[in-house]
């Protein structure tokens, strides 16, 4: 950690601080999106930025995600470094053509004439009773697209460092913020009291500038018997379950799905011989399938058991049955039993 003085922040405050640091350092950084300006965003992630940096650098937009990202592509072509917010990841689909066919491909198709340093921030994931239109985890749609980076932080400290790295990156980045843990880490027990970030060591966020490189995972717990691969909210759920079950596990917080830190994954699985992949997104064609395939391709002769996946179910996110859907401690526990057997 840098030597700068640190304060306790929740993830929203850390993201807001990262945006402020980025805007202070670089005049090209421009924030746009629905409700991000005067009001400061429905989750308050852009609070105060318009007052500090002015209306031409932080502004509200019409409700058209296609337009928001299309305009961001044009701004990047001009030479700015736009940071559009898509209010919920569930709303990102109208912007898909601009992301998939334009932002992601422009460096390639123009042979470097028009790089696209755009960071699309968007709250994602469930566990907040958001129903099917405020709970989705569409990360695998973006990891499937060549030319996009996908980043998902799990703590305030990481959120700030990764967001600054994403904004400074010269390629387009999808930055998904797990909104369930905006205000505190989540152990997966929805019926227990919510914990604030303040008690968590990674809520201590240094002031000023620092980055966490994209493509580097964090080994957040070290063990010998099992490798758990997770990101976002599920890192905290995984840690809690592993502790409760007393499993001696490595827990790897991937932090960046694309590019992926394959070295950390490989060395951990080769050490433990067992691997559990966890994500909240739907199962079929999810990023867990990619992780499972990679582990199988690269670590097959080290594996003691088939790679296990714990995911959301292949249904829309159900409102009233949210906790039966969510890949919580029971589903993870059952998977651990299976992967640890013989």
């Amino acid at each position: 950690m840098p030597d700068a003085p640190a304060t306790n922040m929740n993830m929203i405050e850390a993201i807001n601080d990262a945006l402020s640091v980025a805007m202070e350092r670089d005049l090209d950084v421009t924030v746009l999106g629905e409700d991000v300006g005067y009001f400061g965003g429905v989750f308050r992630a852009t609070a105060g930025l318009q007052k500090t940096y002015g209306k031409t650098r932080v502004f509200d937009t019409p409700i058209t995600e296609c337009g928001i990202v299309g305009v961001a592509v044009g701004m990047a072509a001009y030479g700015l470094r736009p940071v559009p917010e898509i209010q919920f990841a569930d709303y990102i689909y109208p912007a898909l053509d601009q992301l998939v066919s334009e932002a992601a491909r422009l460096r390639y198709r123009s042979a470097g004439e028009f790089p696209m340093p755009i960071t699309v921030r968007s709250p994602f994931g469930g566990g907040i009773f958001g129903g099917q239109t405020h709970s989705q985890s569409p990360e695998a749609i973006f990891t499937h697209v060549c030319g996009l980076k996908t980043v998902i932080p799990s703590t305030p400290y990481d959120a700030k460092g990764l967001l600054l790295a994403a904004i400074e990156d010269n390629d387009p980045v999808i930055f998904f913020e797990p909104k369930r843990i905006y205000n505190g880490p989540f152990d997966g027990h929805y019926d227990r009291p919510v914990q604030p970030w303040a008690k968590h060591p990674a809520s201590l966020v240094p002031s000023g500038h620092y980055t966490i490189p994209l493509g580097k995972a964090a080994l957040v717990r070290e063990g010998q018997d099992l490798t758990v691969l997770a990101y976002g909210t599920m890192v905290h759920v995984a840690l809690s379950v592993v502790e409760e079950l007393g499993v001696d596990a490595d827990v790897v917080d991937l932090r960046t799905l694309m590019p992926l830190d394959i070295e950390t994954i490989e060395s951990s699985v080769k050490k433990t011989g067992r691997c559990l992949v966890i994500h909240e997104a739907t199962r079929t064609g999810g990023f867990g399938a990619e992780l499972s395939a990679l582990v199988q391709e690269r670590c097959f002769y080290y594996l003691e058991a088939p790679v296990e996946r714990v995911t959301g179910f292949d249904t829309p996110y159900p409102h009233s049955l949210e906790w039966a859907y969510f890949p919580g401690p029971i589903r993870i526990g059952m998977a651990i039993e299976k992967v640890m057997k013989d």
């Binding site: 305009v71 044009g74 601009q98 066919s101 390639y108 198709r109 042979a111 060549c146």
Partner: protein, 426 residues
């Protein structure tokens, strides 16, 4: 479920006035005389000029005179340069179309009949105004004196192609000509142009942006998102809709032309809308200059509908005789843009048939020489492409491990195909 006392509902599916074998019918098109449309001040409130979205700004009349308030009063020298750029575009198209037919490349798209749209605009804009074209504005590059060999290298996807053979032919990118990378996904460039213009305004720059899309693709959501952003932020942008009547085989009725004009889309957004004779280079110049002045003086965006006709197929992959009357091209009531500008120059005593014929010969030679130079860099499918490893470059600024692995895999496949050293391309 029907109720016996109510008439049955009917679904209207548009049908063009003429199909193959039928007489071309343009009777539904109202052609206003040249010179009759008033020219408002470029700073005027868009609400005061809604009629212009339903009219037709024309400068060149049938006798080749430039008339009325929209006459841009260009010097003979500028007129001759415009004519030359239009004729060069036509010669270029002709040669590249034939090159495709000769198997030298996979694909080509001509702009025959639409040369005035891009060249009139390019002459009215500053060279550093940023253009976000669609696939039929090659005339902009030619008007900006871009190297024909560079364009042909792209068409041939050869080893001289700056875009490394990655893009379908004609999907140029030329940042130094303020010409944005062309996308095959329609109308994505329109909100991008608005975003570029917003950035320019936010920075207190003086450059403006312009975009082009076809009438068919105004149906895309991006178009409407762009118009919303353009009006909300009064973006300094000129949004061009090239209404060439046909979107591949779908006539303009499938984009809404039976009920209104495309310029009238501007009215609902509170944007200035001009509907102009797109085969009249002077009308295109004048409308673009007006819109550029409006943008540059912070009076916001303009939507220009260029009323024109796609005289050829959509592309080399298209056969228009399968869906439209073959008479349409010759009966198009707004004529040919090159012939009309030429007639004007002759009418004012600044040009003649002999000079025109000599220029056509000279331009054909210029294009031929460029094609020969480009072909030295290779033609598509004959091995003179970019090195294989370039496939993996520029996906990201820095190549991640998985692309390095895939690059090695691809190279090992090439080695298996050509095992001996020096064999096959590398």
């Amino acid at each position: 479920m029907s109720r016996s006392n109510l008439p049955p509902l009917r679904l209207h599916v548009p049908e063009p006035p003429a199909r193959p074998g039928e007489e071309a019918d343009f009777s539904h098109i109202d052609i206003l005389p040249a010179g009759v449309t008033p020219r408002p001040d470029s700073a005027a409130d868009s609400a005061t000029m809604r009629d212009l979205a339903y009219g037709l700004v024309r400068v060149l009349d049938d006798e080749g005179n430039a008339v009325g308030p929209w006459n841009p009063r260009l010097s003979p020298d500028v007129l001759r340069r415009m004519l030359r750029a239009m004729a060069l575009t036509r010669a270029f198209d002709d040669r590249m179309f034939r090159a495709q037919r000769q198997g030298k490349t996979s694909f080509y798209m001509k702009s025959l009949g639409e040369e005035a749209v891009s060249i009139g605009a390019a002459f009215a804009l500053q060279r550093d105004d940023m253009c976000f074209p669609s696939y039929r504005q090659q005339g902009i590059l030619i008007a900006r004196d871009w190297d024909l060999v560079d364009m042909m290298n792209q068409i041939y996807s050869n080893k001289g192609d700056r875009l490394k053979g990655r893009q379908l032919p004609i999907m140029y990118s030329a940042k130094d000509a303020s010409f944005f990378s062309i996308s095959g996904n329609l109308t994505t460039q329109v909100p991008q142009a608005v975003g570029w213009a917003m950035a320019s305004a936010a920075r207190g720059d003086t450059r403006i942006a312009a975009s082009w899309c076809g009438e068919g693709s105004t149906a895309e959501g991006d178009f409407h998102a762009a118009l919303t952003f353009a009006t909300v932020y009064r973006a300094p942008v000129v949004l061009n809709v090239v209404n060439n009547q046909w979107a591949i085989s779908s006539f303009a009725g499938f984009a809404g032309a039976e009920s209104t004009t495309f310029a009238a889309r501007a009215v609902g957004y509170g944007i200035a809308g001009l509907r102009i004779d797109g085969n009249d280079a002077l009308a295109v110049y004048a409308a673009t200059a007006w819109a550029a002045e409006r943008a540059r003086t912070n009076h916001g965006p303009t939507l220009i509908e260029h009323f024109t006709y796609r005289a050829e197929g959509h592309s080399t992959s298209d056969d228009p005789s399968a869906y439209r009357s073959s008479e349409e091209r010759s009966k198009w009531p707004l004529g040919d843009p090159v012939a009309r500008l030429k007639a004007h120059l002759i009418a004012i005593g600044e040009w003649d048939e002999a000079r025109h014929a000599a220029q056509d010969l000279e331009l054909a030679e210029q294009v031929k020489a460029a094609a020969k130079a480009a072909e030295k860099n290779g033609i598509l499918g004959h091995g003179m492409h970019q090195p294989f490893a370039t496939m993996f470059e520029d996906v990201f600024e820095d190549m991640p491990w998985h692309l390095k692995e895939q690059s090695a895999q691809m190279m090992s496949e090439r080695m298996r195909k050509w095992p001996k050293p020096g064999e096959g391309p590398r």
